[in-house]
Symmetry: C2
Subunit: 151 residues, 2 copies
DNA sequence: TATTGTTATACTCTATAACTATA
DNA sequence: TATAGTTATAGAGTATAACAATA
């Protein structure tokens, strides 16, 4: 049976009053579209982020990468395994400390990053198409200032 | 062994260029602090949201609630069980259709909502303390305009 | 003792699919 | 046939805890 009754609109003003709710809605949309964007490249959001950080910080260790990505070291293991299996990064050895690895992007990793960067830029252009360039800059800036006060 | 070596700073400009990354960072911070805020009230983020929508839309059905919260109906069952067990809402019956429920907040539910609303306002005041009131309004407005284009 | 990487495990959130009862 | 609610299951994503190798 199809709906016949005059559908009274469901509202969510109780939630819309909060910035966090609007942030969640926006973020979930962005995340879903980003996942779709990265999937054909064989990347997940975290591996994309890891690749970005490794390229920017050659010879970074897994522990430092964990800090940068704000995830646990145990999670980095899987992430790095994934990138290494895809030949996007290498686990180099550090002279003077045989405990840690020195992570580096391979040539293929560099190329993949360039490709992903372009794709993600297109994804963002689409997601933020209702915002002017200036507004996107403001949004980015405001987001950077969101944090729990120290004490 | 403590670190002795001059720690070269790890940077993430490769990621900071993207709005989505800044959004993720901000959102994860907000989410963590919101969870801490709601926990002493016996609420999770989703049950908080559900309560908000039910109060705003008395006699809403579980399916409509699912749409409003943008989760699957199966997820709503657990959510509603949770709120009903805590006596914050009731599953009323609809005359003329014995399939659906009419969800309503109880008096305790109303009181809980008021309490939670106050707590979440304080949480947001803290999280966005580095932003002026006008900036918070702008942020909220910009976030509302983030969406994937239709076609 | 402390740190790096590792493994195993568990927890949260959410989606999928199959089912029932009603319409 | 279609809808409302339910159940069971599975998949991400991430955290915790214990461990081996090295410092």
């Amino acid at each position: 049976m199809k709906k016949e009754c005059a559908a009274k609109e469901i509202t969510d003003e109780n939630l819309r009053q909060f910035v966090g709710y609007n942030m969640k809605r926006a973020f979930l949309n962005v995340r879903a579209d980003l996942a779709d964007t990265l999937e054909p490249l064989g990347l997940r959001m975290t591996s994309f982020s890891a690749l970005a950080v490794i390229i920017e910080n050659p010879d970074i260790s897994q522990s430092r990468l964990a800090e940068a990505l704000r995830i646990e070291r145990s999670g980095v293991v899987v992430l790095v395994d994934e990138l290494e299996s895809a030949d996007l990064i290498s686990r180099g050895r550090v002279e003077g400390d045989r405990r840690q690895y020195a992570l580096r992007a391979t040539k293929a990793g560099m190329a993949k990053w360039k490709e992903a960067e372009t794709a993600v830029n297109a994804h963002e252009a689409a997601m933020f198409s209702k915002l002017t360039e200036a507004e996107v800059t403001v949004l980015k800036e405001l987001l950077r200032r969101v944090r729990r006060p120290e004490a």
